[in-house]
């Protein structure tokens, strides 16, 4: 019973550091590693962490293929939380698998 949230077609690295990306909003119903609070947010790729078997498959005994590039994505805290109390320069970094990301244009 393999469950995939997205449709990870292959393991090709699609994003480069500095690229603007949006996190998909999804509730695939099974196991996934993209927290709710970051879904729908737009951020900037900080770096590629590596290419790892897909946890959404591994969690159900699958082989994790196609493996997914994993990115550390940087978000502005005051964009993520409307009530954020700290300075606008504060950041949050979340590691996100490629099939949860979509190309986006930078938010001013």
């Amino acid at each position: 019973m393999t469950q995939y949230s997205g449709q990870p077609d292959d393991s090709t690295v699609k994003y480069q550091p500095g690229d603007t990306v949006a996190v998909r909003v999804d509730n695939p119903g099974g196991h996934f590693r993209t927290p709710r609070y970051i879904q729908g947010q737009t951020g900037r790729v900080h770096k590629l962490c590596g290419i790892f078997p897909n946890p959404e498959s591994l969690a159900y005994g699958g082989d994790g293929q196609p493996a997914q590039p994993l990115y550390r994505v940087e978000f502005s805290q005051s964009q993520v939380w409307s009530e954020y109390a700290g300075p606008s320069s504060d950041k949050i970094y979340v590691d996100i698998y490629q099939h949860w990301l979509e190309p986006a244009t930078a938010v001013a």
């Binding site: 962490c49 590691d95 996100i96």
Partner: protein, 223 residues
């Protein structure tokens, strides 16, 4: 309090409150006994031996924040080592005799500077750099830390006694996937003459998670 059973075994309606006559609730609670039963079955079936389990307990116990502290102190003392630790943590740790698991999770080291302060959390479970710090503290696993560290990191750090100035950028790292994070704290002023071993003694577990900073010893602060 009623302890609910897992739904998988069809006994969800049992009441697992403390049983009369049990002296130590913690030792003999429902889950402790459930675990004991599972261990006994694993042993009976030859899946693993009690010795293997005990050896694993010992292996896990052997890891502690002292390991991370040693790495941090070495990085403070040797700029070249610090550069390697930040760019290739695996190679840097191997130099000190630490081997990380060959598969996942990988370790990444993030540096606190005058301008940047890092704070680590795992909002989805309790991912933690166990290979270098041992088991996570209870507060790291608590619902309140997991909820608040992302939305109010400065408030959380204030609870730990650290007030990060507004001009310092706070970076929260949510370890959601295959990486674990170790914070390389700032070396406190007044520690220039200290040996690596003395420095390592100053480095606390909490400073390597990012909720606190490393403080110089009283003598150095007074001087």
């Amino acid at each position: 309090m009623t302890r609910l059973n897992t739904s998988s075994n069809g006994h969800g309606d049992h009441d697992h409150e403390d049983h009369p006559g049990m002296a130590h609730d913690e030792e003999l609670g429902y889950y402790a006994l459930r675990a004991r039963a599972m261990e006994a079955l694993l042993v009976e079936k030859g899946v693993c031996s009690p010795t293997e389990i005990q050896n694993m307990v010992d292996r896990v116990e052997a890891r502690s924040p002292a390991d991370g502290a040693r790495v941090v102190a070495h990085a403070w003392a040797d700029p070249e080592y610090k550069a390697l630790l930040l760019s290739d943590p695996e190679a840097a740790l191997a130099q000190l005799g630490y081997s990380l698991p060959e598969t996942t999770p990988k370790l990444d080291v993030v540096e606190n500077t005058e301008n940047v302060h890092n704070l680590v959390v795992c909002t989805l479970c309790s991912c933690y750099p166990r290979a270098l710090l041992g088991r996570p503290p209870d507060w790291y696993k608590s619902f309140s830390y997991r909820s608040r560290a992302v939305i109010d990191p400065r408030g959380v750090m204030r609870e730990f006694g650290l007030d990060v100035p507004a001009e310092v950028e706070v970076r929260v790292l949510d370890s959601t996937a295959d990486l674990r994070y170790l914070v390389l704290p700032r070396r406190p002023e007044g520690t220039e003459g200290m040996s690596e071993d003395q420095l390592a003694e100053l480095v606390t577990r909490d400073s390597m998670i990012g909720v606190t900073e490393v403080r110089a010893p009283e003598s150095a602060r007074a001087g």
